[in-house]
């Protein structure tokens, strides 16, 4: 196990010791112990930057389950490193923020930090594993730890609901993804991503290609909250704000993005991939930004904004996959979408993390997140206001912040579909820039709502639970660092391009580069009066108008009735599934013995009859049969009469005696068929059973016929008749088909020489097959003990329970 492996699993190891620290050092906030780890890891991963910049790849193999070919391959390239830096960097800031956000005394900190570290380790594992199965393991770890973190305040009903919802949806996607991974492994014979990329030609030809792609995309879309699986993310906002900032804006929801980016080289040969990813992305972008506007909860706005921005990144990855297509001329133009996706991924992590922390501060200092209660905080909380303003303006895509640059590149990427004259992109693809542009207008509107509704206007102090004041400095450190990054990246974007973005793009598009070639991405502020610039200007103008006229047009949201939202669909789906399963079970599990016997007998009839009919198994062969003699016929006739009397008997005594008659006639049959031992035993047993019936005679209930309806009797009669028919048919067929002679000749020959007896049946019972007899004796003994216990042991209800 190398240092790299150790780094990946180190959060799990540290998590083991957190409860210990929590118990031992009650006076120190547990977060301080935790903080060391992500900072150290961040430094460790920074040390990979010079290597990766030269397009070198670090790969370490640890043989985990070699017999299955399942190795834990830690693999660091541009894309993995970018994510690892995001996870550890933002992780450090979130831990720092949580130290001031969560109370040392009131909160169960050991739980919180164990879950958080578990998540951090899982996320590092997802982005740094080359083996898809290992990655899947870590993937589910992120689902579980996210579930635990959302339900952190488990006494709240909404938290539990949100946790359950996110669990159901992401685990549904995760399991689908596992199916896709298994299919890929079947096709290519390996689960290693690099191995899959090498065999992409084989994969794209295979019949499993499309199922594998759909299943993998299901995993990515559910995790990254893409339309229509986005519904869990707004409900996940019940988690503590540091969790929302970390998991639900910067890292976990980008796991799906990571997966799509990582597997693009494998799947991008197909136009289905390009279209699906791009269309779902652009739909999510529009739907998320459209719905964000109507939210009244600050975290609700941010949740939908995250959905929208994730859709934007996803759509750019889809368009960027065009560059991989063999028909496409290798041109920098197609690559711009991928560059923009990576750039926006970083930008989004910075400003969204800062915005969530800002909302947490507002919540912490005023006691509410409802924008209808907030307002006028600008002068009271100037630093928080500055953070909110820079973050929101960057999110809206305004200069001079980093969001502006990525928004411009996003438009460039969307416009580039005009130049793609394959897959119908230049005809239907026209929709992409238009939808992107409309989505950006809504993005502008909610960004303005976020900052102005919270900080401008009149202060409504009577509605607030607390007297608002500026947050403590410790809480402000993390958002200030993130927001400075927003500004720094905004002014000097190219510090990132060379070190981070170019290697990351190189790992998404590995096949289009010649050896030694470099992807050149130069992000400039001013690229002349292009179409993109005019689109941005139009976004600002229309956005300002819409923001001003918000009360006039908010009626259009009433068109989308609450009845038809995806949440309702989900809730109804869950409830009706539960109800359906319940009513299905209670419809056939009636609690009545008779119904279960009916199922058993019906199944027997269908299985046996069906097999006989399909196999054409019914045969009659009378050649070997014994002749019919007159004595037997008489006995049989008498026996049938006695049977009918048993069935029809009104009184208990008649039934018991006629049952005895049947038994005696059976023993008579044994006499006629040369079976003396059987006849004796049957005679004795029948006598004793009849006597037993008579002994308990006075205690037994009178013979009753509980069945009332003729229909009930008729069903029983039909089932009974069919079972009898099956028995008879099978008996006839079996006795007509003698495949080989009996082994009894051995018994007959050796009964005296080997067994020293002349009664063959008895020698078989005690000598040849004595074991049967031993356990038959046991059965009798157990029955006797059971009967004794049943009669003697009288526990009253109180004693027995």
């Amino acid at each position: 196990m190398s240092l790299l492996h150790f780094a990946i699993i180190s959060p799990f190891i540290v998590a083991l010791f957190i409860p210990l620290f929590y118990k031992l050092f009650r006076s120190i906030h547990t977060g301080w112990f935790v903080l060391i780890l992500p900072v150290v890891l961040f430094g460790y991963f920074i040390s990979f930057v010079p290597l990766v910049r030269e397009n070198q790849i670090v790969s370490e193999t640890y043989e985990w389950m070699p017999s299955f070919g399942l190795n834990f391959i830690a693999y660091v390239d541009g894309l993995g490193l970018l994510f690892a830096l995001l996870i550890t960097g933002i992780g450090s800031l979130v831990v720092l923020y949580s130290i001031y956000y969560l109370d040392k005394v009131k909160e169960k900190l050991h739980n919180f930090y164990v879950y958080l570290l578990m998540f951090m380790g899982a996320m590092l594992g997802v982005v740094l594993s080359d083996n898809l199965l290992t990655m899947y393991m870590f993937w589910e770890f992120t689902s579980i730890s996210s579930f635990l973190l959302i339900g952190y305040w488990y006494h709240r009903e909404r938290s539990r609901y949100g946790a359950q919802k996110s669990m159901l949806i992401t685990v549904f996607g995760g399991l689908s993804m596992l199916g896709g991974i298994v299919l890929l492994q079947i096709i290519a014979g390996t689960a290693s991503i690099q191995g899959l990329i090498e065999q992409r030609a084989v994969i794209s030809e295979h019949e499993f290609f499309l199922p594998a792609m759909i299943l993998i995309l299901l995993g990515a879309f559910t995790k990254s909250a893409q339309f229509p699986f986005h519904i869990w993310l707004p409900d996940a906002m019940e988690a503590p704000t540091p969790v929302s900032a970390y998991l639900h804006s910067a890292t976990m929801v980008k796991a799906g993005i990571y997966l799509v980016a990582r597997l693009s080289p494998v799947f991008a040969e197909s136009s289905v991939w390009l279209w699906t990813v791009a269309l779902f992305g652009i739909t999510t972008l529009f739907w998320g930004s459209f719905n964000a506007v109507k939210q009244t909860d600050l975290k609700g706005i941010l949740a939908f904004s995250t959905i929208s921005q994730l859709g934007m990144i996803m759509s750019m990855l889809g368009i960027g996959a065009a560059a991989l297509h063999s028909d496409a001329v290798s041109d920098q133009l197609f690559m711009v979408a991928t560059i923009a996706a990576i750039f926006h991924l970083i930008n989004h992590a910075t400003f969204k993390g800062a915005l969530f922390m800002m909302v947490g501060i507002v919540d912490h200092e005023t006691g509410t997140r409802d924008i209808r209660k907030l307002g006028g905080l600008m002068t009271i909380m100037p630093i928080t206001f500055t953070i909110a303003m820079i973050g929101s303006f960057s999110m809206a895509g305004l200069p001079p912040f980093n969001g502006f640059l990525s928004k411009e590149m996003f438009f460039t990427a969307m416009i580039s579909v005009f130049d793609m004259n394959f897959y119908n992109l230049n005809s239907i693809g026209v929709l992409f820039p238009i939808v992107a542009w409309v989505g950006s207008i809504f993005t502008f509107v909610y960004s303005m709502i976020l900052v102005f509704k919270t900080f401008m206007g009149p202060l409504q102090e009577e509605k607030l639970d607390k007297k608002p004041h500026e947050a403590p400095f410790g809480m402000l450190i993390s958002p200030i660092i993130l927001i400075s990054l927003v500004v720094v990246i905004g002014f000097f974007p190219n510090i990132l391009t060379y070190n981070i973005i170019e290697p990351a793009v190189a790992s998404i598009l590995p096949t289009i580069l010649e050896p030694g070639d470099r992807i050149i991405s130069k992000i400039t502020f001013w690229h002349g009066p292009t179409l993109e610039l005019f689109m941005t200007i139009a976004v600002v103008i229309i956005g300002v108008l819409l923001y001003r006229l918000w009360p006039k047009w908010k009626g259009i949201y009433a068109i989308f009735s609450e009845k038809w939202t995806f949440n309702r669909l989900y809730d109804h789906g869950v409830i009706s599934m539960e109800r359906g399963a319940y009513s299905l079970t209670s419809s056939y599990m009636t609690g009545s013995i008779r119904s279960y016997l009916v199922y058993i007998f019906l199944f027997m009839i269908i299985a046996l009859g069906g097999t006989m009919w399909m196999e054409n198994a019914f045969t009659v062969d009378t050649s070997e049969n014994a002749p019919i003699r007159i004595y037997e016929v008489f006995v049989i006739a008498a026996m049938l009469v006695a049977t009918v009397i048993t069935i029809m008997a009104k009184s208990r005594l008649t039934a018991v005696i006629s049952l005895g008659v049947v038994g005696y006639l059976v023993s008579l049959l044994f006499v006629l068929f040369q079976a003396p031992d059987l006849a004796l035993t049957q005679l004795v047993v029948e006598t004793v059973s009849t006597a037993l019936f008579l002994v308990v005679f006075y205690h037994l209930p009178p013979m009753q016929r509980h069945e009332k309806t003729i229909g009930f009797k008729l069903t029983n009669a039909i089932i009974a008749g069919l079972v009898g028919l099956m028995t008879a048919l099978i008996g006839i067929s079996a006795s007509s088909t003698k495949l080989f002679s009996s082994i009894s000749q051995y018994h007959i020959d050796n009964v005296y020489t080997e067994g020293a007896g002349k009664n063959m049946v008895n020698v078989i019972l005690v000598d040849f097959r004595g074991f049967d007899t031993l356990f038959e004796v046991c059965v009798l003994g157990i029955a006797a003990v059971g009967i004794y216990a049943m009669i003697r042991l009288r526990l009253s209800k109180g004693e027995s329970s």
């Binding site: 007998f601 049947v662 040369q674 205690h699 009974a720 028995t727 082994i743 009798l780």
Partner: protein, 113 residues
């Protein structure tokens, strides 16, 4: 003869199934007793009927009936007897405790009762 015996066994089984499907516990027990008769006859028939003398070497016959099915049936008779008598006592105790022999009324109570 084998065909006739198969039909007889089938009829016994049919009668037994009819009784087992009824609601009265006593009828169900009688049904199981009839069922065991049917099964024993079927076993006996499948071994082949009337091949010779009773399986006693002292008879010094040319051929004997198959002794193996007889041994099997002997075991089955004893086991069926043990089970039937136990079942009978269970029914007796159930009637004593519950005051009914209607199996439809003998339902498990819900957990919340």
């Amino acid at each position: 003869m084998e065909i006739l015996m198969s039909i007889v066994a089938g009829l016994l089984v049919a009668a037994a199934v009819y009784l087992i499907l009824s609601k009265s516990l006593l009828r169900i027990i009688i049904g199981t007793a009839l069922l065991s008769h049917g099964v024993h006859l079927m076993l006996f028939t499948m071994g082949g009927l009337q091949k010779g003398a009773a399986p006693l070497l002292g008879l010094k016959a040319e051929s004997y009936t198959d002794p193996l099915p007889q041994a099997l049936i002997l075991t089955a008779i004893v086991i069926a007897f043990g089970v039937t008598s136990f079942f009978l006592v269970v029914a007796y105790r159930a009637y004593q405790e519950l005051g009914t022999d209607n199996v439809e009324e003998m339902r498990g109570q819900d957990a919340d009762d």
